[in-house]
């Protein structure tokens, strides 16, 4: 609870700014008006704040904020939720990328600060990334083959 109070001002400030940036991205990039974006983004912000609050109030180590947020979001939009239809409708008017574009903007600042460390990763990082994609595809395909034959 103490931690929640300590972080409250940061949370409100950051969510407010992220909210504004996403509304604008959703308008400029995907043509949704302010009134179309507003309900969906309010729902998303509500879920996110609730998730953070729960992660502070209920101290289970494995349940991080992102997991709480994810869980609440899935439940509220799943067939068992009485408000699923409206949640899906309004959140559907918030394009995924209008949330992602601002994140990558801020990440650019952090990458610039740590640029030396990124250069050190450099070519090795590209090589490993290729193996990550290849490995995921290979193992997933092989497992797919296995289960297709099994069932």
């Amino acid at each position: 609870m103490v931690k929640l109070k300590e972080n409250l001002s940061t949370m409100l400030a950051t969510f407010f700014i992220a909210f504004i940036l996403s509304i604008i991205a959703n308008r400029v990039g995907y043509g949704y008006s302010l009134m179309e974006s507003l309900p969906g983004l309010l729902i998303l912000t509500g879920i996110a704040l609730l998730g953070y609050a729960l992660s502070y109030i209920i101290p289970i180590r494995a349940m991080s904020a992102v997991l709480w947020i994810s869980l609440i979001a899935i439940l509220i939009a799943s067939p068992i939720s009485p408000v699923a239809d409206s949640v899906l409708h309004y959140v559907g008017q918030v394009h995924l990328m209008s949330v992602v574009t601002p994140i990558l903007g801020y990440s650019g600042v952090i990458i610039a600060k740590d640029w030396g460390a990124f250069v050190e990763i450099g070519l090795k990082g590209i090589v490993v990334s290729i193996f990550v994609v290849a490995g995921t595809f290979l193992v997933s395909s092989l497992l797919g083959e296995f289960f297709l034959r099994l069932f």
Binding site: I17, I126, F147
Partner: protein, 269 residues
Amino acid sequence: MGKEIVKNYKMHLIMLFAVIVAELIGAVTIPLGDITIVLSPLIWSMLIGFGIYKIKPLKLLDEKAPKHANAMMGAALALLMAKLGVTSGGALEEIRQAGLALVLQNFGNIGTIFLALPIAILLGLGRESIGMTHALSREANVGLIQDEYSADSKEFRGVMTTYIVGTVFGPVLMSVLASLIISMGIISPLAASMGVGAGSASMMTAGLASLIATYPHLEETMTAYAGLSNLISSIIALPLGIFIGLPITELLYGKLDQVRNKKKVKGEV
């Protein structure tokens, strides 16, 4: 810290500018022979944020900016998690109908750890390799690593590297991989369609295109399998990462790092 973040209004105005310019540019497609590279708005906004911080003479961003940017990413990633979660919740019924094979197959998404982590260690990478190899880094994984280790950590640098490389080159890579595996004949087209679904939507589209080129008569079934696999993999990305992927990666990293250090002492490497 809330007031301080708001006071850094210059950074947020720069981000507003970055977002608007990025979305106005939109997705740019670069054709390279048969394959294409797509640069989406997220790449532009990242480059603008990067460039403005790097051009020091302008003094538009001070040394506090990265700390505040870290806090901002926490909030924006939380919104993203909520968005991904709502999309997942709406698709639960589809997944229930998809069948067990498709659901179980997606657990293979973490199989990459056993291939990519040893390679990262061999190349001499440190804890960056944990962020890089715990899963195919998609948005949910960036959120997970930021939440678990903060944006200041080596793990975060790792996940950002694979996320960016994957976003830019992933589709090309997936289309080449899909063609390769099909020509080797060990995997059936349907299993390969499940495999191309493991990545982002654009990786899936690119991989699927290669498969359809080889098996045009299977287009509909393959598209359905790839789409469902893509949906399931994005839903289980987070729990899979938290409960299985990251713990395995941490454990394996610890072991491999020990071996590496011993060899260093003996002077074998």
